[in-house]
Symmetry: C2
Subunit: 533 residues, 2 copies
């Protein structure tokens, strides 16, 4: 359409690509994007244009997370009658914020009353959106979710390694500056020592040295040395001032061995990852605003408090049996087709009428665990005292990191620090503690960064261990090369009348983007299946 549009407005690049995509499919689209000057940053090609559902055709969606709700939105647009069953009493699933006044009961029965001040929150699940996650960004705009920058890298934040600097945290800016400076100096020395004569032409060796001097802030002797030049990056002992006593005093770079001890290279690398690059976003008011906005789109379609116990697809229809949690009654919901977004750890415990291949795939993928702890502090002392605005301080302790809130930057009043975001074995250790012990432990460990203030300013906390979250029993699907090879395509394939969707049916595991891309792909194939039936 856009290609032959005779109106005054030229088609946008996206319209053009969409037209090519509609006409020629994905591979032609990809060729076109290549030839238009840059490769894809996302597999999102705009919302699908599903049309012409058979009259009266219906789809049952299991799960009102983002994947399920998006499936419902787009299938309804295509003409299907849609119903959603959801275990929780809210939309969003792992898109979820805990606010003051909320109550959360985990598996095992521990109940937490969230005591945060008005406006403060913890995002137990998803908490940030990379710029290249075009699907989630598209629907945020479409559904009116206001976004603000999420600060990932903060040069002023701290790095703590118990084996470096006598266990004293150091500023990221100092460590990162000294890493670059030392690497530059060593490489320049190696060139002088003829260590790269076999690798580089003489001309490129000279150009490289010149570039290293710029990049590493080396001095005229090609050394990374104490001085105003290196302080320009790592910070000063006394910074530039105004008036009579304004001259700066240079800071002293760390010894190279200490940098290796601190493993700063790996932390620098983390910030450079595609999924952590600038610009990242978060919704204003908590990640859960996205789930709420999606929920508004499907208002009236969701049956909350419905715990699915069985999925049958015999007799030319899909029938889900569920427990209505409020009444305890057993009920059923029936439709021609089913989009099932129930996390695999839950789904593997339900009686599902599917091919042996799909059942094997559902059973094959373990889930990661993770624990997040929110610590509300009475004041934003990290901003006021230390000029840390958002970003992450890293530690080799089990809490792994603490993250300062990116919302309400430079404002007054209490703020919620993400006091732990555990991975691996530490997560199971934390999950084994009572919630208040998790909070206490996180407070104890995080205090290493702000010894004078952390415990003193603490007001209240909440801790979510994903292995104990009733609606997922884990964090995200953990694929490996072997399981991908054996089970992934089967997991994604339409199984007669049922198709699975969610982050587990994607390569963008553990991200909202994966859930949405999976959903769009699943419903497109289900729609084709429904039209062919």
């Amino acid at each position: 359409m856009a290609l032959i549009d005779t109106g005054v407005q030229a088609p946008t690049r996206r319209e053009l690509l969409h037209a090519i995509g509609v006409m020629g499919g994905a591979s032609l689209l990809y060729q076109a994007m290549e030839s238009m000057g840059h490769a894809a940053e996302s597999q999102f090609k705009g919302p699908p244009n599903l049309q012409g559902a058979r009259p009266g055709a219906s789809v049952l969606v299991l799960g009102a997370g983002l994947a399920g709700m998006l499936a419902a939105i787009e299938l309804r647009k295509a003409g299907y009658k849609v119903e959603i069953l959801e275990y929780n009493n809210r939309p969003g699933g792992r898109n979820w914020s805990l606010y003051g006044g909320d109550t959360y009961t985990e598996l095992g029965g521990a109940v937490q009353q969230v005591g945060f001040a008005k406006g403060n929150y913890l995002n137990p699940g998803a908490w940030r959106i990379p710029y290249h996650h075009r699907t989630i960004l598209h629907y945020c705009k479409a559904f009116g979710v206001a976004l603000e920058p999420f600060m990932q890298l903060n040069h002023q934040a701290l790095v703590h390694n118990s084996k470096a600097f006598g266990g004293k945290p150091q500023r990221y800016r100092e460590l990162a500056a000294d890493w670059d400076g030392n690497v530059a100096e060593l490489l320049a020395k190696a060139i002088d020592n003829k260590g790269l004569d076999s690798e580089l032409r003489a001309e490129d060796r000279d150009r490289l040295k010149e570039a290293l001097r710029d990049w590493g802030l080396l001095d005229k002797n090609m050394r990374y040395s104490k001085g105003l030049r290196s302080s320009r990056r790592r910070g000063y002992d006394r910074p530039l001032g105004g008036g009579v006593d304004a001259e700066p005093i240079a800071s002293t770079p760390f010894a190279f061995g200490d940098l290796l001890d601190a493993r700063i290279g790996g932390i620098v690398a983390q910030h450079m990852e595609n999924q952590h690059q600038t610009t990242m976003f978060q919704p204003v008011g908590g990640m859960g605003m996205i789930g709420k906005a999606f929920g508004k789109q499907v208002e009236g379609l969701i049956r909350y408090g419905a715990k699915v116990t069985k999925i049958d697809q015999s007799g030319g229809a899909v029938t889900a049996t569920y427990t209505d949690i409020a009444s305890g009654e057993t009920r059923t919901a029936k439709a021609d087709y089913c989009v099932c977004t129930i996390p695999l750890g839950i789904l593997s415990q339900i009686e599902v009428d599917a091919s042996p291949g799909l059942l094997a795939a559902i059973a094959a993928v373990p889930y990661s665990n993770s624990v997040k702890v929110g610590l509300e502090m009475k004041t934003r002392f990290w901003e006021d005292d230390e000029a840390i605005y958002g970003g992450i301080s890293y530690t080799d302790q089990p809490i792994a990191q603490i993250s300062y809130p990116s919302g309400g930057l430079h404002s007054a009043g209490p703020g919620v620090i993400l006091g732990a975001y555990t991975f691996g074995p530490a997560s199971y250790k934390f999950a084994g503690m009572a919630p208040e012990e998790r909070v206490r432990t996180a407070l104890e460990m995080g205090a290493v960064f702000h010894p004078g203030r952390y415990k003193e300013q603490f007001s209240n906390g909440v801790a979510v261990a994903w292995s104990r979250v009733p609606f997922t029993l884990g964090c995200c699907a953990q694929w490996n090369e072997a399981t991908r090879k054996e089970h992934y395509q089967t997991l994604c394939a339409v199984d007669d009348r049922i198709v699975l969707a969610g982050e587990h049916a994607s390569y963008v595991g553990c991200w909202m983007e994966g859930a949405l891309l999976s959903s769009l792909d699943a419903i497109t194939r289900l729609h084709t299946r429904a039209l062919e039936a």
Copy 2:
């Protein structure tokens, strides 16, 4: 006071430091900060506590930029009668935003009517605030100026060098990733080639290689190679997707020679500079919001449209002669003391009654020039089409860079790109053009980044050449080592009844922070002088 406070609340770190500062002066303060765990990030020690001005004592402030207004605010608090003379009809000086509907007349008479849509603006002068500029941040909070993050580094933005890649701009993320990867690989090779045997112990060589593998995303053969590992940082040819066709396709790293051509090392270095590190800020609604907020604090004290022509300090008072621009009349203002914040390029053209040393200092410091061009685009195509949210694209053309707006991220509607921020000789070339030609030239050069969209989406523009700005005749004071040595202390010293303040009287040249720090230092010394008189 805070030290012997017996109340329930312990003194904050800042209160403690303030108390130490008051009692023991700067060097004791500095020692205390060192011993409290980290060196200063700023020379700001909190607002000054000037008290006890002699009854009836008065101060005339010349210039209602930030330095002048802060002087007025704090001196009035100390008990002085204060009056401010200002050339412009607005407060703020180089803290200034141009909005739609504004008219700007430059030296030479060219008039520009700003045509931006409501809410859009260009900051011709100051445009960003580093986290460690504690003075400006303090007063923003004190005066209720809302801040939002300013995105400096954007991995998705572009780097253009006419001598690299056939003049085709490339993504920062690709260049930066390949730089690190190549540097890591080369350094690892150099170690293997025994090029660092004399520099590092065997044990550290092994640890370094391990660190390089992490940092540079090297493969198991210690090569920076095409694959999913390097794509994790530089981006994919086809990114991770969802559903059946979701497998990523790796991108191909650039040749090392191309990276050297593109001079990427220097651009990476820029982002690491102390003054460009995360987290940076800008006021919501334009930098000029700060000038307006300061202006509100001194409402009624400023005489606008007053062009100072002479400063006299004979007869135990300071008398400034000025032209009332509206009426053309010559008038005088008189006070016991004077804080003069008039930029040196203007001040050197005025008859000033001061010591020969101060007059020599005023005449000794040249001003830099710079041109900024604001280009309003009909849509935010850089966000919609290319996922660039804020940040800077660099070029070796005279415009030097284009910067995408950090305000209104991910919103609809028109946006203003900073289409040129020139330095050095390019600035004089641009200043020599008529404003509309500057806009046209900026549009032409910036189109290299977004060839399909830039000119097509352009709506209107405005161009400010600082050498033609009537109230400064330049951008900022350009000190060098020789002038600092010869003139700086004299420039800052109280000259009988007059003291100078502004970014020119600081080491934080060209930043609002320098103007404020200079002002606080100047009025503290002037107050001492006044009490001793």
